[in-house]
Amino acid sequence: MRNNIERQVGVLILVLVVALMCYSVVRASTEAPTKQKPSEYQVNIQDFSFEPDTVSVPVGATVTWTNKDEEPHTVFSNDDVFKSKALDTDEKFSFKFTKAGTYKYFCSVHPKMVATIEVGSSDKKSAPMKMENKRRGSD
């Protein structure tokens, strides 16, 4: 009986350790190279384009756009989900994505500037990562 309990505790600890290792590996592999904190992402508005023009973020992430051009720009989602004020040089706009989906957006001052934020499911347990509830833009 005591052996049983010891074995069960030992197995439990082993399971916890393995789970912790799996979690760390998965967390490390999904960290984007440019972000500061795990759930924050940066997009630079530079030379009349959004850089990068496609960003994949987890649900709950915040994206911050910074205007590095000498021209004002805006960040308008195609389907009215988010809309910045006009950003002068060095001004920023942030938006927290609470729903999964594909968010196309553009600059309303220079509408040829277009880009996308892909907001993925945060479920990493067993199933491979899948895009759920793909939003259709209104364009």
């Binding site: 030379d47 384009s49 006009a86 002068d88 309303s108 277009v114």
Partner: protein, 323 residues
């Protein structure tokens, strides 16, 4: 970029002296007056005494176009846009014939801020002219879709700020193509404005000279940089029956011209800062030039309507030119 690339191939076989026109275009940057009279190009260098006979004696209507003052901009390309605007006004006030009015083809302000509109309006009061007419640029409709612009500059206009007026037997139409733009799109007039335009010109005689002014070019110059209007063809279709149509635009901060049948298209220099030639750089941003060159790439446009001639004489005049 050669001057040839500025001229469309799409000319009617109506005897227009294209070689002469191209030669004149090469002078345009240094202040030449090019006038089409019945398909023949007449050109005068500024300072030529014959020019005074043309503008002072025969001119039935003289007006000026300025554009892209960008009040509020203050970066390397021009730290003093209010100063260069004042120089442009001094140039207008020194013209041999005072303009009956001035058209401002938009981007009055840099950021649609009330104090920027105020400064522009106050500065423009120094022009010796009866009235300044405006159309908005994309910089004038930020954050409020143009409500602030309209309250100040387009109180009696329709929709997003379009209107028309008649003077000296000519019909002037101010159009707005910077609101309701779509992702990936160009300038946009929209169904409501097009409907209004069709009705507005319906009862005019074909001999009435028509002048259309709007911020973004109403012809396709360089779509990759947003230099065009997606539904301009439909607007121009309502003007096909007129003998003389002149389209005056801004937005690209450099002069370009195109003649297409009865329509002469013209874009003006900015009074604030130049932009690169189409495709020459990453985008249509403020272009820094050596300080001593700045005033050669900023300027005004003088337009003369001479009764009996069915086209208008359009002259681009840089700030540093003698006239």
């Amino acid at each position: 970029m050669t001057n040839e690339s500025l001229i469309t191939e799409n000319l009617n076989k109506d005897g227009i002296d294209r070689r002469g026109f191209l030669k004149c275009m090469a002078w345009a940057g240094t202040g030449a007056f090019c006038m089409l009279q019945g398909g023949i190009m007449k050109s005068f260098a500024l300072g030529d005494p014959a020019l005074h006979k043309v503008s002072a004696g025969n001119s039935e209507l003289a007006f000026v176009q300025i554009s892209d003052s960008h009040i509020g901009f203050s970066r390397a390309a021009n730290p003093d846009v209010a100063g260069t605007l004042r120089e442009a006004i001094a140039k207008i006030n020194a013209l041999p014939v005072s303009p009956a009015f001035v058209l401002h083809t938009g981007d009055i302000s840099q950021l649609s801020r009330p104090e920027q509109f105020d400064t522009a309006e106050q500065t423009l009061k120094d022009i010796r002219t009866e009235k300044v007419f405006y159309v908005p640029g994309e910089h004038d409709v930020l954050d409020d879709n143009g409500a602030g612009y309209r309250a100040r500059f387009a109180k009696n206009a329709e929709g997003d700020g379009w209107y028309s007026f008649d003077t000296h037997g000519a019909h002037f139409i101010g159009l707005v193509n910077v609101t309701n733009v779509k992702a990936g799109g160009l300038g946009n007039l929209g169904a409501e404005q097009l409907t209004w335009l069709e009705k507005d010109v319906k009862h005019l005689k074909p001999s009435t000279p028509v002048v259309v002014f709007a911020h973004i070019p109403l012809w396709s110059i360089y779509p990759q940089w947003g230099w065009g209007t997606s539904d301009s063809e439909q607007a121009l279709s309502y003007l096909k029956r007129f003998g003389s149509v002149t389209v005056l635009n801004g937005h690209i901060h450099q002069t370009m011209r195109k003649v297409d049948g009865n329509v002469t298209f013209h874009t003006a220099m900015s009074t604030a800062f130049p932009q690169a030639a189409p495709g020459d750089g990453p985008g249509p941003g403020p272009l820094k030039v050596p300080a001593e060159k700045l005033r050669s790439v900023l300027g005004i446009t003088d337009v003369n309507f001479i009764r009996g001639r069915h086209t208008l004489g359009v002259t681009d005049s840089p700030l540093d030119s003698a006239m």
